[in-house]
């Protein structure tokens, strides 16, 4: 390693100086974490995100991405990976099915993921993607928000966005998935008529 060689040549400088000089930057750590996340190397991704969070503890995007890595550790189906807004409906289906069938899943990772999305939500309350996963993950957690109110809150916050933001495809998709979430929530409490009403809204693109 270059810094070890420099330490040998210039021993007067403390080791910490070299570590600081040659340590990866926040951007490098996030990028490395994202690559690991895409490859399905979730623990490696979490390690990168944790290091990045040591540099910038209040970065909502890193917290969100760490949340995704934790969600994937909780999923016991290798064919499903959740890495962004586009996996919203897939995640709801998986999550609800697992609880319904009482499948084995590592719920402790979902709890930790929920924690990440909770912190990210405080830092970036207007982000519909973060809000969506926060509400979805909290569905079966005692500390989670009421799902019907939570999904409604997402829909309302999207309604209040400027028109060009509302037209962004991911925002439209999250709105649709929030209706789907409400539908699922009503089904859970046995209100089939209400569930059908929101299912229809989800299907209307």
């Amino acid at each position: 390693m270059l810094y070890q060689l420099l330490l040998y040549v210039f021993p007067q400088y403390p080791y910490s100086v070299y570590v600081t000089w040659f340590a990866p930057t926040f951007e490098q750590l996030v990028e490395e974490g994202n690559i690991h996340l895409e490859k399905g190397e979730y623990w490696k991704a979490i390690r990168c995100y944790d290091k990045a969070l040591e540099i910038k503890p209040d970065d909502p995007n890193v917290l969100r991405d760490k949340g995704y890595a934790l969600i994937n550790l909780g999923i016991d189906n290798e064919s499903i990976s959740v890495t962004g807004y586009s996996d919203a409906e897939k995640f709801i289906d998986y999550y609800f099915e697992c609880y319904k069938n009482q499948s084995t899943m590592a719920s402790r990772y979902f709890e930790r993921a929920f924690q990440c999305f909770s912190e990210a939500k405080i830092l970036k309350p207007e982000d519909p993607e973060i809000l969506f996963y926060y509400v979805s993950l909290g569905f079966y957690l005692p500390t989670g928000p009421d799902p019907i109110n939570g999904f409604n809150e997402i829909i309302n916050s999207i309604e209040n966005l400027p028109p060009y933001k509302k037209e962004q495809y991911p925002v439209k998709l999250i709105k649709r998935c929030s209706w789907y979430g409400i539908c699922k929530a009503y089904k859970e409490i046995g209100q089939e008529a209400k569930a059908k009403e929101f299912k229809k809204r989800n299907e209307t693109k």
Binding site: V30, E31, N61, E167, Q168, Y169, P170, L173
Partner: protein
């Protein structure tokens, strides 16, 4: 002998008058000369081939319209369709043309997933610049999803097929695959600001604000909507040899990369790895770019087109315009 008697008989003024009268009479009375003396007004004819097709709900079917000029018809003829059930969209490429002597327009019929199953008679009308109208009928059979349609013969090429077969990406794919810093992207797919082909073009604005903390952004035009390789459907574009598109930057100097295919997943794109233009520096004038697809497997295309850029290429963001994105045969 008198000099009069020495003349040939046809030069004799006595016979000349009747001869001329007989010739004129013969000319006028001959029907072959009628069109020259009384020329017919220029007109055009319109035909569709194939005349019918079967498609599943949510599917797309193509046919071709040929407009032939008759008696030197020169005016442009614009095409339109009527008798469509709701959620069926018909697009013509090109929608207007001059039948000198003929032009062919490729017709793409997009059937929504909720269109009721049944048979529909679609009227395709050509309207000339002088108001002349001619129409033809196309029978569209919508079948339930999952029922395999009987193959319809493809349009028979004729010498008048001056235009090659094309599939318009804007009609056949959805700009649903927003990637990276999607919050930095604004997409206007009906921009009227100096389009390459009237009436609209695509305008993409990238703010480089790193909304999602990624430092890059892009959009995939997908089929079906939001297909990241988890849906078995896709477009069969076998035989297409290239993808062409027109692009320009707002100021000039904007950098971007464009690709075809490359979506992975359970049901991936048949084009692997994606075919790319590499990073292009756009001019503020429209320029055409081509992606060569010769020898590629186009049997299952789900990522029909992709635009991607990053903060490094455009530190202050950029606005670019795209138009006429087409697969060509």
């Amino acid at each position: 002998m008198s000099s009069e008697n020495r003349r040939p008989w046809y030069k004799n003024p006595k016979y000349l008058g009747p001869i001329i009268a007989a010739i004129v009479g013969a000319i006028i009375s001959n029907p072959l000369w009628v069109p020259i003396i009384f020329p017919p007004s220029p007109d055009f004819s319109i035909s569709v081939n194939p005349m019918q097709g079967q498609v599943q709900q949510g599917g797309v079917i193509t046919t071709a319209i040929t407009v032939k000029g008759v008696h030197g018809y020169k005016g442009p003829v614009s095409l339109s369709a009527s008798g469509l059930p709701s959620n069926v969209v018909v697009s013509f490429v090109p929608p207007i043309g001059g039948p000198i002597p003929a032009f062919t327009s490729n017709v793409m019929i997009n059937v929504g997933p909720d269109v009721p199953v049944g048979e529909y008679k679609i009227t395709i009308k050509g309207i000339g610049a002088d108001g002349k109208e001619h129409s033809c009928k196309y029978i569209l059979t919508v079948m339930p999803k999952g029922v395999k349609p009987t193959p319809t013969p493809s349009p028979t090429p004729s010498p008048t097929h001056a235009l090659k077969k094309v599939v318009n990406v804007q009609d056949a794919f959805y700009p649903s695959g927003w990637m990276g810093d999607w919050g930095d992207i604004t997409l206007d797919d009906a921009c009227t600001d100096n389009p390459h082909s009237e009436p609209t073009c695509i305008k993409i604005t990238y703010s480089a604000a790193k909304s999602q903390g990624k430092g890059w952004a892009g959009i995939y035009w997908q089929y079906p909507d939001s297909n990241w390789g988890d849906n078995p459907d896709g477009r069969d574009l076998t035989g297409a040899t290239k993808l062409t598109f027109w692009a320009r930057g707002e100021k000039g100097g904007e950098k971007a990369e464009f690709k075809v295919g490359g979506i992975t997943g359970k049901y991936p794109d048949s084009i692997q790895p994606p075919v790319s233009t590499g990073v292009i520096v756009l001019s503020d004038k429209w320029q055409q770019y081509t992606i060569d697809l010769t020898g590629m497997d186009l049997s299952h295309v789900i990522g029909g087109f992709c635009w991607v850029t990053n903060k490094h290429q455009n530190p202050n963001g950029c606005t670019i315009y795209l138009d006429d994105i087409r697969f060509e045969w």
